[in-house]
């Protein structure tokens, strides 16, 4: 039996739902036991675990410290969801006029710095494996848990949503309808859900940043502009889920 913890920081619990549905599989239930589940308690208190899913991005110093402490007690950390990998939707605030301030949180009455730019997990602790998605996909969790139990991991494949779209034989919405679609620069994993409903990909699995640079992202942005998206819209669209990577490639917005 492997000890499993589910930890949540700044996030929406959508990924946790997917994890729970994976945990309903008989063979997975037989091999893993839940030692901590964030939704049921309000501080990260357990002695140790083999494996922890951490959902969300780091938005306060308090969280950062809690994670560093968690790292010491957990053998293997899975950064769970696009928030944990690239900041997630909440990072969009960095593009607005959010003012970071240090003040007491009403609940704990202790001072905690709130970050303007939410941090992906790997800026704070060592991450052993990454599951992208907003939310992640229960099938990917099942695959991961089964392979982890067998002593391995899923083979790393870095490709775009277009790969899945094409393998499904879907007609490309960008090429056939001129709909702005982020599939070409978004990590695969969702199975091209949005294009299968005839709409453009929103990039919720995060920027497929491997092999990309600022110039390439801009050449794609140029294409979105041709399709009629104004400047600000394409920036917001591309950075909506993956602000942290977007910033790495193109610099901040201010």
């Amino acid at each position: 039996m492997l000890k499993l913890a589910i930890v949540k920081i700044t996030s929406c619990s959508g990924c946790i739902n997917e994890i729970l549905s994976a945990l309903l599989e008989d063979d997975i239930r037989a091999n893993y036991t839940l030692v901590y589940f964030t939704e049921l308690v309000d501080s990260i208190e357990f002695r140790e675990a083999d494996l922890a899913f951490v959902e969300g991005s780091v938005t306060t110093r308090h969280q950062e410290e809690a994670l560093k402490d968690l790292r010491k007690r957990v053998g293997f950390i899975v950064a769970t969801g696009t928030c944990a990998l690239m900041g997630g939707v909440q990072s969009l605030r960095a593009m607005g006029d959010f003012k970071p301030e240090s003040r007491g949180l009403p609940l704990k009455q202790e001072s905690s710095e709130i970050y303007r730019e939410p941090k992906p997990l790997d800026q704070v602790v060592k991450v052993d494996y990454a599951l992208p998605g907003c939310p992640i996909n229960a099938d990917a969790v099942k695959t991961f848990l089964r392979k982890y139990y067998l002593g391995g991991l899923p083979i790393a494949i870095y490709e775009t949503v277009c790969s899945e779209c094409k393998r499904r034989g879907l007609p490309c919405v960008l090429v056939t309808k001129g709909i702005p679609c982020l599939g070409p620069i978004t990590l695969s994993g969702c199975g091209a859900i949005c294009p299968s409903f005839g709409r453009g990909c929103y990039g919720c699995y995060g920027l497929q940043f491997h092999g990309l640079n600022g110039g390439k992202v801009l050449s794609f942005a140029e294409r979105l502009r041709e399709l009629g998206l104004p400047d600000l819209d394409y920036r917001a669209l591309i950075s909506a889920y993956s602000y942290a990577k977007y910033r790495d490639l193109l610099g901040g917005s201010h």
């Binding site: 089964r146 775009t160 277009c162 990309l212 390439k216």
Partner: protein, 353 residues
């Protein structure tokens, strides 16, 4: 057309028909159950990064191709138990099938895949061996991104088929046999020999079709020599691939791209080994534990181009890996143009010479 299908059916003992099938949106390569499923009353408009279906009678192709059947996007190659017993060898006999209304470039693409995969790849081999008849539609009006004439794979066919037809206009078909089966089929259809009026018209239309293809590679051999000379120029490939974002669409739509990745799907008590398409433009291609053999996108873009124009010929005994279908140009979300790039190859070389 209906007669043609019927005759094949009779002669070959009720095979399935495979071709471009009209669906709710864009035709995809699939089983054809009746003549009404053929895309006979539509045309496609193709431009770099743009594809549209309009009314007409000149359907060429879509993102789909016979590759979807012969080397499907996902192939289960083995189902295995935790104690390493094969539960299912994954390979079954290919269905007896007639390719119906495929294009000259499609046919050439199959010839290319044959050289690489036939009798080596079990899934491809099974399906390919099941193909008992081939009916080709020649292109009297090539599509907007087509350049098959430059790479010797269209717009008409000379061999490798049973029957080829050309649509001289919406109603008139000119048929030619390419094999004994084809001759037999045409004979039992009771067709007359075409008058010289029609054969002349056909010749003219073929000439016009060739001229109408705006993308041209005037001198393939020179382009190949130039590519050879440029293989080591990082600067050149970085420049050429500057806009490419490595999405892989070009690989997936290309009718000759055959690269696959093997993954294991683990269930509760067995695992499926699945081969899935992977594109050499995507980051995975060349990735190994602790390193990467093609880490930069320009390296992968270079491999794609060189594979098509230099390496396939060495792997297939002379056939190019590009059949000039233009799919990679149409379906590239950025609209990158392979032929424009090749023209740049020639220019760079001119400057240097």
């Amino acid at each position: 057309m209906k007669k043609l299908m019927l005759e094949f059916k009779k002669l070959l003992g009720d095979p399935v028909f495979l071709g471009y099938k009209r669906g709710s949106t864009i035709p995809v390569f699939d089983e054809i159950r009746s003549i009404s499923e053929l895309p006979l009353e539509i045309s496609d408009v193709q431009k770099p990064g743009k594809y549209e279906i309009v009314e007409g009678f000149r359907f060429r192709h879509s993102h789909s191709s016979p590759k979807w059947y012969l080397l499907p996007p996902e192939q289960v190659i083995l189902t295995i138990s935790p104690s390493y017993d094969a539960i299912d060898s994954g390979v079954s006999e290919g269905r007896r099938a007639v390719l119906f209304g495929v294009k000259p470039c499609d046919l050439k693409a199959i010839a290319v895949l044959d050289k690489i995969l036939l009798d080596k790849h079990p899934v491809y081999t099974a399906k390919r061996r099941g193909i008992v008849g081939v009916v080709v539609e020649e292109c009297m009006e090539p599509g907007g991104t087509c350049f098959c004439a430059s790479v010797n794979s269209g717009p008409i066919v000379e061999s490798g088929f049973d029957v080829a037809y050309a649509r001289l206009d919406k109603e008139t078909l000119l048929l030619k046999p390419g094999s004994d089966i084809g001759r037999q089929v045409l004979k039992s259809m009771g067709l007359e020999r075409a008058s010289s009026e029609y054969t002349e018209l056909y010749k003219q239309m073929v000439g016009r079709a060739i001229d109408s293809m705006k993308r041209k590679l005037p001198d393939l051999e020179r382009a190949q020599r130039a590519l050879r000379g440029l293989a080591s120029s990082q600067e050149f490939w970085e420049e050429i691939s500057k806009k490419c974002i490595g999405c892989g669409n070009c690989n997936y739509v290309c009718p000759t791209c055959f690269c696959t990745e093997f993954i294991d799907r683990v269930g509760e008590n067995h695992a499926e080994r699945v081969a899935t398409w992977i594109g050499c433009l995507t980051y995975t291609y060349g990735l190994v534990a602790g390193g990467h053999f093609r880490k930069q996108l320009y390296m992968r873009y270079r491999h794609y181009t060189l594979h098509k124009f230099l390496y396939y010929p060495l792997q297939t005994g002379g056939l190019l890996g590009c059949v000039g279908c233009g799919r990679c140009i149409t379906w590239c979300p950025i609209g990158l143009d392979l032929i424009e790039n090749l023209s740049r190859v020639l220019k760079v070389k001119n400057v240097e010479a």
